[in-house]
C-alpha cells in the first residue's frame, strides 16, 4: 500500500468518521424520541434497506478486488442472496413462521429447538462465532486500510479500534435495550436503513464519477472496453462454471445463515408481506449497489491508477479531489459499522443463550431482565473486540477475498442442517451434529487455521476426487466440507434412532407439516399456579410479568382453568422465555417447573388446537389438501350451525365442540368452554352432561334445568364414538330444548281438566237445580200457609239457603258455559268506561262492602272489541273479589289505557294481597282465598276463559309495583277485530 495517497489529514478523516457516527446517533435519537414519524420508520422500504446490511465492507471493497481478479464473477455475492430472497415464499416464510411461533431469535435457537438439544445450540454458536470472526476482521481491516491509505497513519489499527468502540457503544445503546431478542427494534432498523442509504448513495455517486467524470458516458466506456480496455479484460480469469456455482451457493447460504442476516430477516418481527416484498426489493437494492463496482475499476484502469493501490481500494484513486476518497471512506464506514453492529447483537444473543445461560442457568435472579441486558451489552463489546483482535492477530497480509470466503465457507456448514430441518423430518440430532462437526473440521483445517497461523492449508481430498488437486483452496475446502457434512448427516441419521421429542419438533419445523400436539394435563391448575411454580426459577416479579404477558398475548383470563387454555399458556410462556433466554433454557425451565401430570392415561391429539392451526394455515394448503380442508370446513359448519345443541367430549372428558345453538341456549360462548373438562363446565352443564354419561340408556328426557332464572326442559341424546387406531374416540351429545313442548303439554292437561270440571259442574247444576227450585217454591208457599212466626222464620231461612244454593248452581252453570259463547253474536266495539260503570252500579247494589270506595279512571272514549255482557261479567267478578279483599274504607280503582293495539284495564285494591302459592293456582277452579262458604273458586277461572275467548290476556301483581300491599289484576283486550274472529261459529269440541 502506498503512503503517497495520504491526501487527507488524519484529523479530517477522524472528524469525518466521528461526525458520521454522531449523525447516526442523532438520527437514532430522533427515531427513538418519535421526532421521525412511525409511518416512515415502519415503511416496508426501511426493512429492505435494513436487509442491505448484507452489503458489508465486502460490497464496497471486496467486490472491487473480486472484479479485478474474476470480472463479472463478483456478481455471485449479490446474485446468491437475491436467489435466496427470490425463494422467500418457500424458504424464508416457513423459517419466519417457526421463529415467530416459537420465539426463536437466532440460527442456534432454531437448531436447538429442532434437534432438542442445548448442545446443538452451543455447537452452532461456536461455529457461527468462528465463521464470523474473519468477516468481522474484514470490516476492521477495511477501516484500518482506508485510514492508512487516506492519511498515511502508521497506527491505523488503533483508529480502527476507536471506530469499533463507537459501533459497540451504539449497539449497546440502541440494540440491547430490550432483554428480549425477538422484538422489533424500530430505532435499530431505521439506523441500519440509514446506513444503507448512505452506502448506496456514496456508491452511486462514485459510479457516476467513474461513468461521467472519468469516461464520457456509457458509449465512451463501451468504446474503451472494446479498445484499450481489452488488455485489462484479458488479464481477468473468469471463474469457471463450477467455481461460479459454488460461489453462488456460498452466498445463497450466507443470506440465510449469517448471524446478521438471520437477525434482520427473522428476529426483527416483521410482517410476512414485508418479507415477500423483499424478494424483489432487496435484489433491486443490490443491483444498484453492484453497478458502480466495475465502473470504478474500469475508471481506475483507464486512468492508469490501478497499480497505485490494492485493487480493493481503487475508489480512493478515482479522482484527485479528496471528497471522492472521503465518499469511498464513508461508504466503507457505513457498511462496516452496520455489519459490526448487527453481527455483535446477533452473536451476543447466541452466546448468551447457548453458552452462558446453558452453563449457568438463571436461578431466581432478583432482577433477571436487568441482568440479561447487562450480560448482552458486555457480550456485544466482547464480540466486536474479538473481531478487532482477530484482525490484529492475523495481520494485514490477507486479501479481502480470502477473509470473506473463509467466513462464508464456514457459515455454509450449517446449510445441510438447515435444509434437513426444513425438508427432512428424518434427520436427527446425531446426524446433524456429526455432519456439522466433520464439515467444520475440514473447513478449520483447510481455511480457518491457515488464516490464523499462517501454516499451509491442510486440504483433504477424498479418493476419487483427485481432479480437485489443482483447484483453489477455498473451492476444494467448500466442496469437500459440504459433501462430507451432507453425507455424514444423511448416513448417521439413517443409521441411528430418533427420539420422540425430536420427531415432534421435526414435525413442527417441517414445511407444510401440521403440528399434532397431544392433550396432557398439567400440574398447575390456574394462571396463579403458573406464577407460583415459575417464581422458583425466575423470581416473583419476573414470573408474574411473564405469566401476565403470556395471558395478554393469548387473551386469556388468569382464572381460566381449562386444560386447553393452560396448555396454550404453557406453550406461550415457553416461547416467550425462549425469546428471552433461548429455547434450551426455556424448555428446561418449563419442563422442570410446569410439568405435565403423568397419570397413566394415554395422551390424545389436541384436536381443537389442530383445527385452530389449520384455520391459520389455510392459504398455504394446495391441491388435495385444500379440497379436504374445504370439506372439513363444510362439515364443521354443518355441526356448528345445526339448529340443535351439540357438544362433543373426548375420551378424557375434555370438551371438544360446543355449537352455536348450544351457545345460544346456554348463554355460554363456545370459545370460553371448549378445552375445558366436563366437570369444570359452568353449572348446570357439568352435572347435566355427567348425568347423561352415567345413564345406562342413551337418552334423558325433559330434564328441568334452571337457565336465566327460568326453568327449561332439556332432552339429551348421546352417541359413543368408539376409538380405534385411525379414529379418535369420544362422545357426541345432542341437546334439544323441549320447554315449549312441555308448556304446551301442561296447557293441554289444564284445559282438559277445566273441560271435565265444566261438564261435571253442568251436570251437578242441572241435578241440584230442579230440587232446589222445588224447595224454594215450597218454602215460599209455607209463608202463605201459616202465621206461626217460628215457621215463618224457618221458611225465611230455607228461602235464604236455597237462594245461596241457587247462586252456587248459577255460578257452576256460568263456569260450565265459560269460554263458550252462547249468544251467537259477533264481537262489537265496547266502551270500557260504560262496562266498568255498569259493573260498579251492580256491585254497589250489594249489601256488603258498602264502605269500600270505588274510583273509575277509565277514559270514556276507550273501546275494545268484545261482548259487553261477558266483559261486564268479568268486571263484576274482579270488582267483587277486590271488594271482598279490601279493608273497611279501602279503595278500589279501575283504570284503562291504550297499550299498543291492546287496551290495558286494571283493577287495583289495597287489600290483604295473595300468597305466592295461591297466586300460581288462582285460575284453577275451586281455588279461593275467601272463608269457606263465601267463595266458589270459580270466578277467576271464568274470567280467565272469557278473556282467552276475547284473545286477551290476564296478569296478577300482588302487591302491585310501587304499593306495599294489595293486588292488581291487569287485562289486555284487543282494540281491533282479528281475521276470522267470528266466535258465533260453533267450536268443533263444543
Amino acid at each position: 500500500m502506498s503512503a503517497e495517497l495520504a491526501n487527507m489529514p488524519l484529523v479530517h478523516l477522524l472528524a469525518l468518521g466521528s461526525g458520521y457516527l454522531l449523525v447516526l446517533f442523532l438520527f437514532a435519537l430522533a427515531v427513538e424520541r418519535g421526532w421521525i414519524g412511525r409511518g416512515l420508520t415502519r415503511h416496508p422500504a426501511v426493512y429492505t434497506l435494513a436487509l442491505g446490511v448484507y452489503a458489508s465492507a465486502w460490497a464496497i471493497y471486496g467486490s472491487l478486488e473480486l472484479t479485478a481478479s474474476s470480472g463479472y464473477g463478483y456478481l455471485a455475492y449479490y446474485l446468491g442472496v437475491a436467489g435466496a430472497f427470490l425463494l422467500a415464499p418457500v424458504l424464508l416464510v416457513p423459517i419466519q413462521r417457526m421463529t415467530r411461533t416459537y420465539q426463536l431469535a437466532s440460527l442456534a435457537d432454531l437448531f436447538a429447538f429442532r434437534f432438542r438439544s442445548r448442545w446443538v445450540g452451543t455447537l452452532i454458536t461456536v461455529v457461527s462465532l468462528l465463521a464470523v470472526l474473519p468477516l468481522l476482521a474484514l470490516q476492521v481491516q477495511t477501516l484500518g486500510d482506508s485510514i492508512h491509505l487516506l492519511t498515511g497513519s502508521t497506527s491505523p489499527g488503533r483508529w480502527a479500534l476507536a471506530f469499533c468502540a463507537l459501533s459497540a457503544l451504539f449497539a449497546m445503546l440502541f440494540g440491547a435495550r430490550h432483554s428480549r431478542l425477538h422484538a422489533r427494534h424500530d430505532t435499530l432498523l431505521a439506523v441500519i436503513a440509514f446506513e444503507s442509504v448512505v452506502k448506496l448513495g456514496a456508491m452511486l455517486m462514485l459510479g457516476a464519477v467513474a461513468l461521467f467524470g472519468v469516461f464520457d458516458g456509457s458509449a465512451d466506456l463501451q468504446a474503451w472496453l472494446d479498445g484499450p480496455g481489452q488488455l485489462h479484460q484479458a488479464a481477468i480469469s473468469q471463474p469457471d462454471a463450477a467455481h461460479w456455482r459454488t460461489l453462488l451457493l456460498l452466498f445463497f447460504a450466507a443470506a440465510l445463515l449469517m448471524p446478521h442476516m438471520f437477525h434482520i430477516t427473522f428476529a426483527e418481527t416483521l410482517s410476512r408481506r414485508t418479507l415477500l416484498q423483499a424478494s424483489w426489493t432487496l435484489p433491486l437494492f443490490l443491483l444498484l449497489m453492484a453497478i458502480p463496482v466495475p465502473l470504478i475499476l474500469w475508471a481506475a484502469q483507464a486512468q492508469g491508477h490501478d497499480q497505485a493501490v490494492a485493487s480493493a481500494y481503487l475508489a480512493f484513486v478515482l479522482a484527485d479531489t479528496p471528497w471522492v476518497g472521503a465518499l469511498a471512506f464513508l461508504a466503507g464506514l457505513a457498511a462496516a459499522s452496520g455489519t459490526m453492529i448487527i453481527i455483535s447483537l446477533a452473536l451476543s444473543g447466541m452466546i448468551l443463550n447457548h453458552v452462558l445461560l446453558v452453563a449457568h442457568p438463571p436461578e431466581a435472579q432478583p432482577n433477571l431482565y436487568r441482568w440479561l441486558r447487562w450480560l448482552r451489552r458486555a457480550l456485544i463489546a466482547a464480540v466486536i473486540l474479538g473481531g478487532w483482535l482477530f484482525y490484529r492477530l492475523i495481520g494485514v497480509h490477507h486479501d479481502l477475498t480470502t477473509l470473506g470466503l473463509t467466513a462464508f465457507v464456514g457459515m455454509a456448514q450449517c446449510l445441510p442442517g438447515l435444509l434437513a430441518l426444513l425438508y427432512w423430518p428424518g434427520a436427527n440430532r446425531k446426524g446433524m451434529v456429526s455432519g456439522l462437526t466433520v464439515g467444520t473440521l475440514v473447513w478449520l483445517a483447510g481455511l480457518w487455521l491457515p488464516l490464523l497461523t499462517g501454516l499451509p492449508a491442510l486440504v483433504i481430498v477424498p479418493p476419487g476426487l483427485e481432479g480437485l488437486a489443482g483447484e483453489p483452496t477455498w473451492y476444494v475446502v467448500a466442496l469437500v466440507s459440504l459433501a462430507a457434512n451432507s453425507l455424514t448427516l444423511i448416513l448417521v441419521s439413517l443409521a441411528t434412532p430418533t427420539s420422540v421429542g425430536e420427531r415432534a419438533a421435526a414435525e413442527a419445523c417441517s414445511v407444510d407439516a401440521v403440528i399434532r400436539p397431544k392433550r396432557l394435563p398439567l400440574l398447575a391448575a390456574t394462571g396463579a399456579d403458573f406464577k407460583r411454580h415459575l417464581a422458583r426459577a425466575l423470581g416473583d416479579k419476573v414470573a408474574e410479568r411473564e405469566v401476565e404477558r403470556a395471558l395478554t398475548d393469548l387473551g386469556l383470563s388468569p382464572l381460566d382453568g381449562r386444560p386447553y387454555a393452560l396448555r396454550r399458556l404453557r406453550d406461550r410462556i415457553q416461547a416467550n422465555l425462549s425469546g428471552l433466554m433461548g429455547p434450551s433454557v426455556a424448555q428446561d425451565i418449563v419442563d422442570r417447573y410446569l410439568p405435565y401430570r403423568h397419570g397413566g392415561e394415554e395422551a390424545t391429539d389436541d384436536i381443537h388446537f389442530v383445527e385452530s392451526r389449520l384455520e391459520a394455515y389455510r392459504s398455504r394448503l394446495t391441491g388435495l389438501a385444500r379440497e379436504l380442508d374445504g370439506l372439513r370446513r363444510y362439515h364443521r359448519r354443518i355441526l356448528a350451525r345445526l339448529p340443535v345443541g351439540l357438544c362433543t367430549l373426548g375420551v378424557d372428558d375434555e370438551l371438544l365442540m360446543w355449537n352455536d345453538a348450544l351457545a345460544e341456549l346456554s348463554g355460554i360462548d363456545g370459545t370460553s368452554v371448549v378445552g375445558a373438562r366436563r366437570d369444570g363446565l359452568p353449572a348446570p352443564w357439568g352435572e347435566l352432561l355427567g348425568r347423561l354419561l352415567a345413564e345406562p340408556g342413551d337418552h334423558l328426557y325433559k330434564q328441568p334445568v334452571e337457565l336465566d332464572g327460568t326453568t327449561r326442559y332439556l332432552t339429551l341424546h348421546r352417541a359413543e364414538l368408539p376409538a380405534d387406531d385411525d379414529l379418535r374416540g369420544g362422545t357426541v351429545i345432542l341437546i334439544e330444548d323441549h320447554s315449549e313442548l312441555k308448556w304446551l303439554e301442561d296447557e293441554l292437561v289444564h284445559a282438559a281438566r277445566l273441560a271435565s270440571i265444566g261438564q261435571l259442574a253442568a251436570g251437578v247444576a242441572h241435578e241440584i237445580g230442579n230440587p232446589i227450585t222445588g224447595i224454594s217454591s215450597l218454602a215460599q208457599n209455607l209463608r202463605y200457609d201459616t202465621d206461626d212466626p217460628q215457621l215463618l222464620e224457618s221458611a225465611e231461612q230455607i228461602q235464604q239457603l236455597t237462594d245461596r244454593v241457587s247462586r252456587i248452581v248459577s255460578s257452576l252453570v256460568g263456569f260450565a258455559h265459560g269460554g263458550r259463547h252462547v249468544s251467537g253474536s259477533r264481537f262489537t266495539p265496547v266502551a270500557i268506561a260504560s262496562v266498568t260503570e255498569e259493573a260498579l252500579h251492580l256491585i254497589r247494589l250489594a249489601r256488603s262492602g258498602e264502605d269500600v270506595r270505588y274510583r273509575n279512571f277509565c277514559p270514556p272514549d276507550l273501546e275494545v272489541i268484545g261482548d259487553a255482557q261477558r266483559l261486564q261479567q268479568v268486571m263484576i267478578n274482579l270488582l267483587s273479589n277486590a271488594r271482598d279483599a279490601s279493608e273497611p274504607d279501602g279503595a278500589v280503582s279501575i283504570a284503562a289505557e291504550r297499550d299498543g293495539d291492546m287496551v290495558l284495564v286494571s283493577v287495583t285494591d289495597e287489600g290483604h294481597g295473595l300468597d305466592a302459592h295461591v297466586r300460581d293456582h288462582l285460575f284453577e277452579p275451586f281455588t279461593t282465598t275467601k272463608p269457606p262458604g263465601e267463595g266458589t273458586g270459580l270466578g277467576l277461572p271464568l274470567v280467565y276463559s272469557i278473556i282467552a275467548e276475547h284473545h286477551g290476556r290476564i296478569e296478577i301483581d300482588s302487591p302491585p309495583p310501587g304499593q306495599a300491599r294489595g293486588t292488581r289484576i291487569s287485562l289486555w283486550l284487543p282494540t281491533e277485530r282479528e281475521d276470522g274472529d267470528t266466535t258465533d261459529e260453533p267450536d268443533s269440541d263444543r
Binding site: P89, P283, L287
Partner: protein
Amino acid sequence: MYVYRIMLLLVFGGYLLSPLLMSGWSSPGVAWYRPFVIWGVLIALTLWLEQKRKLDER
C-alpha cells in the same frame, strides 16, 4: 403454490444456466450493462410473480 413452483424453477434454472450466460458477458462487443439489464428483467419478473401471488392468495 403454482407461483412458488415457477420461482423454484426460475432460481434452480438460473443457478444451473448462469455460467453459460456469464461466459458471454466479457466478450468484446457485448454491452457492459448487459448483465445488469438481465438482472433488472429478473427483478421485474419477480415483481410480476409477487403481484400474481397476491392475487392468487386473495
